[in-house]
């Protein structure tokens, strides 16, 4: 069978031609995404390029993913920051959304104004364990109902407040979908139902709202948000299939122009004795998205977080050089480094991007002294024993030293408390096929796994 996958990214539309019988990539191509006019123009251009290099093929199936037109833009709302608010963010992230902000407690006027200006595609509303607090989620249902715009709501909070919330939404003509609580019992995550509800709304409403219905008309499965395709590919690569072993515990870094996405497929329970896990037990399959860490659109906040002086120290140029580069890229996000200095600065900043997003994704362990002696208190996932680390996204794939870039995600003396991988094997998605394999994994998991293992370059 010959399958063509298309990923409609914010900048490029990327095509991958696959032969499932031989489990090989026949070819890839890309052209600019044309979402603001007619998205099929860019697709056809890329297809022409592909046909020119491998000949025109009759494809049995065409599959598509998209992060064009801002991706799946979401806001999530919960009650307590470390409990349902955190659970709501984990759920939206696992659905492949770009969660712009997470709110907790009763939404204030300032915060509803902020949500209004974010103008999300979907708002995920949670709060209260089942039978728990109802007051806050109902307050927030009312506050959200007063907003203007074409947003949809997923209700995944306290089941005891569901009926009243439903009537609030109906009265205000808000399109919504209800599902089981993201935290039905204290500290127990249940994010699959919310993930499914988000997926349903994406298929029902958002594909057409984003101008992708022309694509939906000729592809053979529902369009998937690109990060969800990556999520599925990562899970497959980790767990393997009945016939083939996967790579086991792994992490994936996808560095982009606007965000850096991190995926971990690992239980994350303590690896050392005398360690107590506190706070929310995070899921085996976790995705985090850093909206302020990106190599072009988010270069300025990234450099501020990393500190221009620290970047200068590492790369040997001055902080003025760094800030000039930030200026240049901010003015024109299409900028590519042209001289040695720009190349080194860009490379160095990409290392910080990976390091900062790894720090935020991985758990922490701090020492505490008790009457019984020293113990470790762990929050989040212990990813020190992760055995494989995969890099994807332009800044990593095109890095002059991909291995060095990726390595900056590992455990370091700079931040001893961060439970980052200590000694993983490093892989590079050199042909940029990760999301394509996620699309393929639905119908052909064995083929997708085989191709990833063959194509990813191991250092």
């Amino acid at each position: 069978m010959k399958i063509l996958t298309a990923d409609f990214g914010s900048t490029f539309t990327k095509l991958t031609a696959i032969d499932t019988n031989t489990a090989t990539i026949l070819g890839t191509s890309k052209s600019f995404t044309t979402i603001s006019s007619d998205v099929t123009i860019g697709f056809n251009k890329a297809l022409d390029i592909l046909n020119n290099s491998i000949g025109s093929i009759k494809y049995d199936k065409i599959l598509a993913s998209s992060s064009a037109a801002g991706g799946l833009k979401m806001v999530s709302v919960g009650l307590v920051p470390d409990l349902t608010a955190k659970a709501s963010r984990l759920a939206a992230n696992s659905a492949g959304a770009k969660v712009i902000k997470t709110f907790s407690y009763e939404l204030s006027k300032l915060e509803t104004d902020e949500i209004q200006s974010i103008n999300p595609d979907i708002i995920l509303l949670t709060g209260g364990i089942d039978g728990g607090n109802q007051k806050v989620i109902l307050h927030n249902a009312n506050a959200i109902s007063k907003l203007k715009g074409n947003f949809l709501v997923v209700y995944a909070g306290n089941k005891s407040a569901l009926e009243e919330a439903e009537s609030i939404f109906k009265k205000n003509n808000i399109e919504f979908e209800c599902c089981a609580n993201v935290m039905p019992e204290f500290n127990k995550l249940n994010i699959e139902p919310a993930k499914k509800a988000i997926r349903n709304l994406f298929i029902k409403n958002i594909i057409s709202a984003k101008g992708l219905d022309k694509v939906q008309a000729f592809v053979h499965a529902e369009i998937v948000p690109t990060p969800l395709a990556l999520f599925n590919a990562s899970l497959l690569l980790s767990k393997g299939t009945k016939k083939q072993k996967g790579l086991g515990d792994l992490m994936v870094f996808d560095v982009g122009g606007a965000t850096t996405d991190v995926y971990s497929m690992c239980d994350g329970t303590p690896n050392t004795s005398n360690t107590f896990l506190q706070g929310l037990r995070e899921p085996f399959a976790k995705r985090s998205v850093e909206g302020d860490i990106g190599m072009r659109y988010s270069l300025s906040p990234l450099v501020t977080t990393a500190s221009p002086d620290d970047i200068a120290d590492v790369c040997g140029y001055t902080s003025t050089d760094i800030l000039n580069w930030v200026d240049k890229c901010t003015k024109n996000p299409e900028t590519v480094p042209t001289n040695e200095m720009e190349k080194i600065i860009d490379f160095t900043i990409s290392k910080f991007a990976i390091e900062i997003s790894a720090d935020r994704h991985c758990g922490t362990s701090t020492k505490s002294f008790t009457p019984m002696g020293e113990v470790n208190i762990q929050f989040g996932k212990d990813l020190t024993a992760v055995t494989a680390l995969i890099g994807t996204g332009g800044p990593v794939i095109n890095s002059p030293y991909p291995k060095e870039t990726l390595k900056s995600s590992c455990y370091s003396l700079k931040n001893l408390n961060s439970l980052r991988p200590t000694n993983p094997d490093l892989y590079l998605d050199e042909k940029y096929i990760f999301s394509s394999m996620g699309l393929l994994s639905v119908s052909h998991p064995d083929v997708a796994l085989k191709i990833m293992i063959n194509e990813f370059i191991k250092y």
């Binding site: 307590v80 209260g128 364990i129 109802q134 019984m372």
Partner: protein
């Protein structure tokens, strides 16, 4: 009728786990809805759990002798978090050794705890107290209950 909801746990760096499990069992059997946070629970975790679960009371255990330091400030944090008037109960071996318990009780009462229990208190006594506090039994039923030998050991 709505079940009374209790958040229970062992506070601070305390790892004594056995009593906590017994209390979980006893309170559940007595008809309360229990959110058990286990051992090594911080004040913040007690409060977060009480907010999300809309709890009626927080039941703090402390066994290892550092109860006074660990328990201080919980009432003020509850007030700050909007848990006004939530019942706070504390028990176990809340101070070191066998100091005069009336002084200990006064200290913890001043810290905002509604009921303070001596080492060796039977869970059955606290269950009776909780039922009285939440109007589940009358004064007479309470007095009758106190005669139960399980309570006097």
């Amino acid at each position: 009728m709505k079940k009374i909801k209790l958040v229970i746990g062992v506070i601070g760096a305390d790892v004594h786990a056995v009593g906590n499990r017994i209390l979980d069992y006893a309170f559940t059997q007595a008809g309360f809805s229990v959110v058990n946070l286990g051992v090594m629970v911080s004040q913040k975790e007690f409060i977060d759990a009480a907010i999300e679960s809309d709890a009626d009371a927080i039941v703090v255990s402390s066994l290892y002798g550092h109860g006074e330091i660990d328990c201080r400030g919980l009432r003020e944090k509850c007030d700050e978090a909007g848990l006004n008037g939530i019942k706070l109960y504390v028990g176990g071996n809340i101070t070191v050794g066998k100091s005069d318990f009336s002084i200990v009780k006064e200290t913890f009462t001043k810290m905002g705890y509604d009921r303070v229990y001596e080492p060796g208190t039977s869970p059955n006594l606290s269950i009776l107290d909780f039922k009285l506090d939440f109007g589940l039994i009358t004064d007479d039923e309470y007095q009758e209950g106190l005669k139960d030998e399980d309570i006097n050991g």
